[in-house]
């Protein structure tokens, strides 16, 4: 079960996003659909980073590598075994999840601080990029290979919509499922364990919470979600390219989205991803400046806006509503 307030929020977001693919493609606008798909993919990545980084202080700087592991595992095993990629997608998710769990386990066991885990995962990320590009026989090197194994033609044909529109709904489904899962996790005893471990690992251990297990669970879930999303991302692109999994292409964006939207909130990742994707579109006019703008945004966010949009908006709303319904007022559960 998920808390009623979360259920309402998820329902509202779903209702707001559901018509978008049909609306934007009504006039045949596939470009807008592409933007929307990117938004869904990155919002889901951000939900995952929220669990790993914001809740359990595990600064994963290898989301690109995890997404790549998910995508390559899914695509390559499907091709090697000769079955549909939908059957190998769980394998991709588990492969990425296992990598995340191993890293979390080693980090927790060795008592790594945030910065050590950050550098460790960044090293893994860069090694993975070298591997994706370097293992030409397997991955097709930097030119990659076309991929359409996760196509949903059969559904699209049955319903009578474009395949890409149908696929946008698959991604929306994954985002909504990840939000529901996140809400359940946060409301469960694991959610309490996350909170205690984050605030004081020593006290948590003393209170009988298995800190290593808690962090490994968070690492596995986050990594598996990133792996799944990565596989769906390459289907949306129609191509598996190593450059899609680069540190600058995924990790930097997702970090900005998480902090901008609001850490440890349900809708922060969605709001942050939406804001950055929109901003990126607006900057499209002056496209060459987008990288520089992103860097400046990262600095400004961390120096002066670390609480994020959702908590700020919530504060503003609460002070506006006053204590009309006091029970839900200042809680962190937005």
């Amino acid at each position: 079960m998920i808390p009623a307030a979360d259920a309402r929020r998820i329902a509202a977001v779903t209702a707001a996003l559901a018509p978008v693919p049909l609306l934007v493609t009504a006039g045949g606008a596939t470009y807008q659909l592409r933007i929307f798909v990117l938004f869904l993919v990155f919002a889901t990545f951000t939900v995952a980073l929220n669990v790993a980084f914001a809740h359990t202080d595990q600064l994963f700087l290898f989301l690109g590598a995890l997404a790549g592991v998910g995508a390559y595992t899914t695509a390559l095993t499907a091709e090697a075994v000769g079955i549909t990629a939908w059957a190998t997608l769980p394998l991709g998710a588990v492969a990425a999840g296992a990598l995340g769990a191993v890293v979390s386990y080693v980090a927790a066991r060795r008592g790594m601080t945030v910065i050590v885990l950050a550098i460790l995962t960044l090293s893994v990320q860069l090694a993975a990029m070298e591997a994706f590009v370097g293992m030409r026989d397997v991955t097709g090197g930097s030119t990659g290979f076309p991929f359409s194994g996760l196509s949903v033609d059969f559904v699209a044909d049955a319903v009578g919509v474009d395949q890409r529109v149908a696929f946008a709904y698959v991604l929306l489904g994954l985002l909504v499922a990840s939000l529901v899962g996140y809400s359940r996790l946060r409301a469960s005893r694991w959610g309490t364990a996350f909170e205690v471990v984050r605030q004081d690992p020593v006290a948590a251990e003393a209170a009988g919470i298995d800190v290593v297990r808690t962090k490994v669970l968070a690492g596995f879930l986050a990594a598996a979600l990133v792996g799944t999303t990565g596989a769906l991302y390459v289907q949306a692109d129609g191509y598996v390219l190593p450059s899609a999994f680069a540190f600058q292409a995924i990790d930097v964006l997702v970090l900005v989205m998480l902090v901008l939207g609001g850490s440890r909130t349900l809708l922060g990742p969605v709001v942050g991803a939406g804001a950055i994707v929109l901003l990126d579109e607006l900057l499209g006019e002056v496209g060459q400046w987008r990288t520089a703008a992103l860097g400046v945004l990262l600095i400004v966010l961390f120096l002066s806006f670390r609480r994020g949009i959702v908590p700020k908006a919530r504060e503003a709303y609460d002070s506006y509503v006053g204590d009309r319904d006091g029970n839900d007022g200042t809680s962190d559960a937005s």
């Binding site: 600064l59 080693v106 980090a107 060795r110 008592g111 790594m112 601080t113 945030v114 910065i115 050590v116 950050a118 550098i119 460790l120 960044l122 090293s123 893994v124 860069l126 090694a127 070298e130 591997a131 590009v133 370097g134 540190f247 600058q248 930097v252 970090l255 060459q288 400046w289 987008r290 990288t291 520089a292 703008a293 992103l294 860097g295 400046v296 945004l297 990262l298 600095i299 961390f302 120096l303």
Partner: protein, 285 residues
């Protein structure tokens, strides 16, 4: 023949190692002093190269260009220290470390973004140092130049830290900030000095790289990563360890490049970093 080739690769490795040592030292100095891991270090190196190439073309002197490149990064380093890093230094402990990562990462992305717009080409420096052949062992001019520049710079760095009053003050701040304060040393001033010094070291490393191969804006992040790995392997607060690690990794990577190719050599480098982090996570915290 095999011996001669092996020697050539080893000499190249030492030169690369000296460059690595410069980069690693730049990370170690700033992290040891103020707990800021400078993820923008490589971007400073690229700026030095770009300015050096532009000025060298304008004034017709490679040395003049190099001097201008170094001066440019020193000024930029000073500006960054007085503005962004001042904000970072206001927080303490783990908070400062995390803030430092993100602010310098943002700075790296911002600098790279601007450079991509204005200087999207590849840059190299025509140093004009001739190759040398000695008893069948050929040494490239850029290798000679690297050794001739990097070795004295590193020696000068140690001389500064060991022999001068300011250097002693710097080491005092590293060991005991409160004690330094009581002795009349202003830690913030020292941090500024050392940050500028670190970007100058990075600038020198960048110029040397541009003397041996083409440098693009994308090389900035790569240089940063090399620098961090060298610093980690050497023990991130230990300058001598960092220099030794730089030399060692330089030789190992150059041989790996020669024997198994660039991709595997880089994977090996990251593997070493991961292994060291797993073995000694308490080194950097």
């Amino acid at each position: 023949m095999v011996v001669a080739t092996g020697l050539e690769v080893a000499i190249d490795g030492v030169a690369r190692g000296l460059s690595f040592a410069l980069l690693g030292a730049a990370i170690t100095l700033v992290f040891g002093l103020g707990n800021v891991l400078n993820l923008a270090l490589g971007s400073f190196a690229v700026i030095a190269v770009v300015v050096a190439v532009a000025v060298a073309g304008a004034v017709g002197s490679v040395v003049g260009g190099a001097a201008a490149g170094i001066a440019a990064v020193a000024l930029l380093g000073l500006a960054v220290d007085r503005t962004l890093l001042s904000s970072v230094y206001r927080s303490e402990g783990e908070e400062r470390i995390v803030l430092g990562i993100f602010v310098t990462l943002g700075l790296a992305i911002a600098i790279d973004g601007v450079l991509f717009v204005y200087v999207p080409l590849t840059y190299s420096i025509a140093h004009g140092v001739p190759a040398l052949e000695l008893a069948g062992v050929a040494v490239r001019g850029s290798t000679l130049l690297t050794v001739a520049v990097a070795a004295p710079v590193l020696a000068g760095l140690f001389g500064f830290l060991d022999r001068t009053r300011l250097g002693t003050a710097t080491r005092t701040v590293v060991h005991d900030e409160t004690g330094a304060l009581l002795c009349g040393v202003n830690p913030r001033r020292i941090r500024t000095l050392v940050f500028v010094l670190s970007v100058v070291l990075a600038g020198v490393a960048g110029l040397l790289r541009a003397a041996s191969s083409d440098v693009t804006v994308a090389a900035g992040f790569e240089l940063t990563v090399f620098a961090i790995i060298v610093a980690i392997v050497g023990g991130v607060r230990d300058l001598r360890g960092t220099v030794v690690a730089g030399l060692g990794l330089g030789v190992v990577i150059t041989f790996a490049n020669f024997l198994v190719g660039a991709y595997l050599a880089n994977v090996l480098l990251f593997g070493v970093a991961v292994a060291v982090l797993v073995a000694r996570p308490e080194e950097i915290s």
